[in-house]
Symmetry: C2
Subunit: 704 residues, 2 copies
């Protein structure tokens, strides 16, 4: 709640201001998107969660306090400063205990997080490029930065002449390892911080550089970029951790732990190391304040059959949390001691469950080395006769990912309740915006987003935004990865379509909603496109299908109406959403990519967000969150349960944008039914002009 107040300071736009085409704004807001965009196959191995791109969160750093953009932008023009950093970094290369020919600096933190604390933004610090996705590689005489098409322009502006921009995905552009294999003399030593790469990513990397006989050197003890920045680098976040109320969590931590332990036992495993921050927060019913948009804290957790240890900066642990953890049988350890505990697990003959897609290479390698040592010692003693009790590793996806994705009753109730309050805030917001625009007020995309935040922040239990708002007017709406900048963004007016994708973190739930509206007269073209996007949205919303159907099977339902006239959109249709946790979570998704075979299960939450984007003209997206429910079908062929969706989001869809002649009778029924539910559920939460707006925007329509 504190952080929300912090955001609000200096951002409040209680009244509209007169129009000027483009003007500076006192706060920097870096917009990114909430929809499930998938990385191009050709991008370099940046090792993100493939379900969605990493959001830029450099604006808010280790807390979510807004900073003047002028301060942030200082770095950009300062080529000299960047060069000094490179020089300092290269000096470290030559230290005898380091002795490397190149150093790879990825975007990641040690937990594969989507949003990361500013102190861990080493790639941005060393290169000056602040985009969300990118990898820097520095050799003794060259420095190169890889990013994808979203960021080519930004990187061109931000990189000094000491840097080569590698436009990943462009024809002929090598990836990081191809480049390293090319520029380094064979037999080179390539340094990495093993905490910043997943175990899987490092294995790929190792294999790729081995082609030219290079060695990957793990520098456990020091991150060279931190060493360059030293005292000037931001400090790690240290806001207090809070207990996530059982009335929202639904299941006691003791139950979650015993379920997890049963799973470990079933797989012959005696311990698991958990490094995904949302998994730790979910399992322990704790919430943190370390990164923007996600209520998580930096930590590792090791659960054994009869004990559990949380590795965290103790200064974040309040007395209340300390007591709570004690009751749950969870010991506290310093965040920095994780590797020595990993070694100790091996020494004690653990059978350790490791999810190599998320656990970092520092952990997995330390464990592997410790296991080898154990075996060596054993064989030197007893010639390898008695292997009973030898430590082993079980490489397997985290069992918590699926458990977390399937929401319990309390989690669903919290999500429903927070969505109703969010809907009330949105009704107030849209009512306000319509009025302002009708008064010919001039509002920029940034100002509009800030005002939305104000309405949300006044709702009970508001904590934070759940991602950087995408506020795209006219042609900006067509840039799927649009990020409005205060000094260059457009105004929202009666002439253009306006796409607004936003969400919030509440104590009881997480929201994510997109609406597209027109305050004047939409063109026939815009109406046809909007209607077809809506038809896709309705088709997916209404789908019924056998349980165990993977999400990608449903993706075509959301596209069929666009495909009929040769239209499509270049992003996925749905991503998972956490309950008062990350706005993007796995393992499920609904996408045209066929790799994710995770079946949809009752209790999962997923977004429904088809869209259409006409370059240089307009963008359309209609997004609700849904949860998967059992459908009481009159038949159950093959003994199967059939499942479908129930809506969480209750905000009107602008009927002005619908070409009603295109809708079937069933689609019109869907729309009228939805709007009647919106009125029924949300009207009691708003009053005055917002209530009038809600009434006006939930009236039934009829086929002309």
């Amino acid at each position: 709640m504190k952080s929300a107040a912090a955001i609000m300071s200096g951002l409040s736009l209680s009244t509209s201001t007169p129009c000027s085409a483009s003007r500076p704004h006192s706060c920097l807001r870096l917009f990114s998107l909430s929809l499930p965009i998938y990385r191009s196959i050709n991008t370099p191995p940046i090792h993100l969660n493939p379900n969605f791109i990493v959001r830029n969160s450099s604006s808010s750093g280790s807390s979510i306090t807004a900073k003047p953009s002028s301060e942030m932008r200082k770095n950009r023009s300062n080529g000299l400063e960047q060069d000094q950093k490179l020089t300092a970094l290269r000096q470290l290369f030559r230290k005898p205990e380091i002795n490397i020919d190149a150093y790879i600096i990825p975007s990641q933190d040690a937990h594969q997080s989507e949003f990361i604390a500013e102190c861990y933004m080493r790639r941005a610090y060393i290169s000056g490029f602040t985009g969300s996705a990118g990898t820097a590689v520095v050799t003794s005489n060259q420095a190169a930065l890889w990013t994808d098409g979203r960021y080519f322009l930004q990187a061109e502006k931000q990189l000094s002449s000491s840097w080569i921009l590698m436009r990943a995905g462009n024809w002929g552009v090598p990836n990081t390892t191809e480049w390293l294999n090319d520029v380094l003399v064979p037999g080179g030593r390539i340094g990495i911080d093993p905490f910043l790469f997943s175990s899987d990513a490092v294995n790929e990397l190792k294999e790729a550089v081995a082609k030219n006989n290079h060695e990957l050197v793990y520098l456990y003890d020091v991150n060279l970029v931190d060493e360059v920045g030293k005292e000037a680098r931001p400090k790690p976040p240290n806001k207090p951790i809070r207990v996530h109320d059982l009335k929202y969590a639904g299941v006691e931590v003791s139950t979650k732990l015993s379920n997890l332990r049963a799973e470990l036992t079933d797989h012959g495993s005696s311990a698991i190391v958990i490094s995904m921050l949302d998994e730790i927060a979910w399992l322990l019913n704790l919430r943190g304040n370390d990164v923007p948009h996600s209520p998580v804290m930096y930590a590792y957790l090791i659960v054994e059959i009869d004990s559990a240890k949380l590795f965290v900066d103790i200064s974040k642990v309040t007395h209340e949390v300390m007591d709570y953890l004690k009751k749950a049988g969870i010991e506290l350890r310093s965040y920095e001691t994780i590797l020595s505990e990993i070694e100790s697990l091996a020494a004690r003959g653990a059978h350790l469950w490791l999810d190599t897609s998320s656990v970092n290479a520092a952990i997995s390698s330390t464990y592997a080395t410790a296991c080898d040592k154990y075996l060596e010692r054993l064989s030197s003693k007893s010639k390898g006769n008695n292997l009973y009790g030898a430590p082993t590793a079980l490489y397997k996806s985290s069992p918590i990912s699926l458990a977390k994705a399937i929401k319990n009753h309390a989690e669903l109730e919290g999500m429903l309740n927070s969505h109703l309050r969010d809907a009330a805030a949105l009704a107030e917001f849209w009512s306000w915006l319509e009025e302002e625009i009708n008064k010919d007020a001039c509002l920029t995309e940034v100002e509009v987003a800030d005002k939305l935040l104000e309405f949300r922040a006044s709702q009970a239990g508001f904590v934070d935004t759940s991602f950087d708002t995408i506020s795209g007017s006219g042609a900006n709406g067509a840039i799927i990865h649009y990020k409005a900048e205060p000094d260059s963004c457009s105004v929202v007016d009666k002439q253009k379509l306006f796409l607004l994708d936003s969400g919030a973190q509440y104590l009881d739930g997480t929201t994510d909603i997109t609406r597209t509206v027109h305050f004047g007269e939409p063109s026939e073209r815009q109406k046809e496109c909007f209607t077809r996007v809506l038809q896709g949205h309705i088709a997916l919303d209404q789908a019924v299908f056998p349980e165990n159907t993977p999400g990608f099977v449903l993706d075509a339902f959301a596209r069929a109406s666009l495909w009929k006239v040769g239209l499509d959109y270049r992003h996925g249709t749905g991503h998972g959403v956490g309950a008062a946790l990350n706005v993007h979570e796995g393992p499920q998704s609904i996408s045209f990519r066929f790799g994710n075979m995770t079946p949809l299960h009752k209790g999962m939450i997923i977004s429904n967000e088809p869209g259409y984007y006409e370059d240089h003209s307009f963008g359309i997206r209609i997004e609700n969150l849904l949860f998967v429910k059992e459908v009481n079908t009159p038949n159950r062929f093959g003994g199967n349960t059939y499942i479908g969706f129930e809506k969480l989001t209750f905000v009107p869809i602008q009927t002005k944008l619908i070409d009603l002649t295109l809708l079937s009778a069933a689609e019109i029924d869907w729309l009228n039914d939805y709007h009647s539910q919106v009125w029924e559920k949300v009207s009691s939460l708003v009053d005055g002009s917002a209530r009038d707006w809600l009434w006006n925007n939930t009236r039934p329509v009829a086929k002309p």
Copy 2:
């Protein structure tokens, strides 16, 4: 044409006969199915084309002459004869030049054919079990036969007590190699005929038996089952080959060969060996008469950059075909000399393209051994300095499979024309059947299918059925793999739904159609199910989608209407169809299995056959063939071409079975438009009562 006449002899049912519940019939017809059923994951490695199950064609053997069922059934009861065969087989095991502990007898011929000649039905011969799918394994003291759930009852009846029936897919039943690993003393020698296993299948087999240190012994020179049968075994088919007229083939063999050679060159390959019979027939514009239902001839083809050799029984090659081949630059070789040519290719340093999923292990192993020999010889001469010209293998899918699947204009025209004649035959048939049933004639499922054949055979260019007709009345329609037997099959009457899935080979095309009808009063339940199957059929028929979409993406369109009420069907929705070739061909499919990533292309032909099956009650399937066409969409998002389907099949869908209240306005329009096309295209090809029937069954319907 001759073979068609052969079928007709003794089958003609020009008038209906009085009813008796169940009676013997003078011919044996083994029915199998035309729809894309997929093998259960748990079945043993029988190594079929995974797109569809193998059809039983033992009834007609090496030609399609029908045989009295009494003759065929003699084997079944004769346990003694089976035991004598086993004894003779085991005696061969002990010959010094053979010396094996077990012998595996699969269902396949040497070309992975769906329909095979009787002389190659070794598994049926040795075991007495005549089902289409199965593998026999004989050791010195045991004999076991694996088959899947479709055939458990049949196998129980047909196998003598010397055989163990292995119910594949049942819990705890080992697969062939698990069983061999269990029953043989480690280090055993397991014999196979390497011609009868694909190269891929043998590699799997080898790996599996190596676990228990067994060796796979390739018996190139003799098939032990043939040796047991000796003179009593049927002779290989020797009907003449014919030239497939250019007006149907569309592209000269010279063009096809130069396209293929360009492809070889592009891949650095100098030769290809083709073993799939339909690929040879397509590439050379030849048609054969060696197996039932498919107009192919047993052959291998080797195409090099400057020559081509056809390996075939020369007695089948007429003077006309001989001249034709000579002009095309294709040399003739005896079928049996394939392996010596493979060796010669290696000796000449060929870079041989091998599709290991279809080419048999005899060929791939012979080539690999010959390559090794070459290299040994070379290294002993020149110490390996000069490897230029060394033979190599390129393991890659056959380039002909995709080329064949994308039909040219002439092929599509032939398909369209043959479908219209087929539609005329079906109109005559349905008109006849309706009349007979209205006269209370008693007709069995077999008699009805025979009569259909009679109508088809009178159409110009008729050659053969394209698969064994599925004629299922009432509960039999619910058995997806139903095979009506003359002495036990049901009657077709006014009380039951009747499902009829059938197809024909014509000189210019191949057909495959399913219709479900009721001659009395269908129940509300039947109407709802039929209507939902129809809605799925319409949704797929109407789909528009970007080119390069794999077929499985569309599968859910065909199921969505059934899913809404908790219904589904357990088979795929669409299979490819050859042009005057195999009724089932790859590489495309439309299925709920997600393994087949082949994109749909303009010119491909695919079936659209959703269904619904209610056990012990009724079965519904509505099948048309479609071809993929470009759709002239008003937009082309992303520069993509959008594609959709055009119908090939024009036979009325029974409107009596439709619950019109369930259909949308657009679905009713589709139905009326389809029926108006049926009348327009087919009415001129029929007269009398068939024309009346067509008129009555193509009248528009309206929403009540």
